[in-house]
Symmetry: C2
Subunit: 177 residues, 2 copies
């Protein structure tokens, strides 16, 4: 299923509907124009990655931390973009501040990153390319971010999917690494 919600930069369509089931620990919310602009920054981070994944952490429109996939340069298989953004955030902030932030990720967080996002208590997650889309290009663990969020009874997280997913997927075609 192609969930791309943006075909060219600057404009976007919103595919996600506002839905919430009785047992959900996450709530689907619509994307805004600001989300598209911030996601582009995450995608810019992805362009710098050892693999094309990027993430940023934002509070009230202000970018507080950047992350790019650093698994090769750091010799660390856990140095995914989201983990790097969290590490960078925590180097200058207390973890409690994460509860007021949104993390933008160019790829749907894997279970490792989504587990970290849950434990950190992010208010909101916005991602571009889905695990299903990413799996056509690179090995993925086939468990969705929503599945992880909904299994955590202690959180209440907003999730917005598919913002600029076309731009994020395009990086796999231009990536020469």
């Amino acid at each position: 299923m192609d969930r791309r919600t943006l075909l060219t930069g600057g404009t976007f369509l919103v595919a996600a509907a506002l839905t919430q089931d009785a047992h959900a620990r996450s709530e689907r919310v619509d994307a805004t124009q600001a989300d598209a602009e911030l996601m582009q920054l995450a995608i810019d981070q992805a362009k710098e990655g050892d693999y094309p994944f990027g993430a940023i952490i934002v509070r009230e429109g202000k970018v507080l931390a950047l992350g790019t996939n650093s698994t090769k340069r750091l010799h660390d298989p856990t140095a995914h973009a989201e983990m790097m953004a969290i590490r960078n955030f925590l180097s200058g902030h207390e973890p409690e501040e994460l509860k007021q932030t949104t993390i933008y990720a160019s790829g749907e967080p894997c279970p490792m990153c989504m587990g970290a996002i849950v434990w950190c208590g992010f208010q909101r997650l916005v991602y571009a390319a889905s695990i299903d889309q990413l799996a056509t290009k690179i090995g993925q663990i086939d468990v969705t971010a929503r599945r992880i969020a909904n299994a955590a009874p202690f959180i209440d997280m907003q999730i917005t999917a598919g913002v600029l997913s076309g731009n994020a997927m395009q990086l796999f075609d231009t990536d020469k690494k």
Copy 2:
């Protein structure tokens, strides 16, 4: 379901059966006496944790890295015992060496830690208390380690569950923090 396989230190019973289904990316294997001794070291690490979780990384019976839950002391919600053991290992070894190692964890790895264990390519995981057991004492993400492993088509991991789980659970009753 109580999966405790050890009621007192020094002896152990093996509950896990050797089973493998056609689509599994993980294989259940029986525990050995050496597993029980190594798990006790992981439980000793748990005693030092901010929360009572510990982990060790072992190759051919030799302990190569220790990890204890350090979420409070490091102000880092991702500093789970398994993540700390991996960080400590990688500070002195190349990640490729993890493929010949076993990680022993006093608690079944959460999706974050299990995602990390998958990406690191550990040969084997041995854990004590299950997520179901842990959830009676502390907030858990209700997704099993096996579920994560079986969703990763690129791995082939052995998993042994329930080794010294009684000892690991007992730490939650004696923990005064």
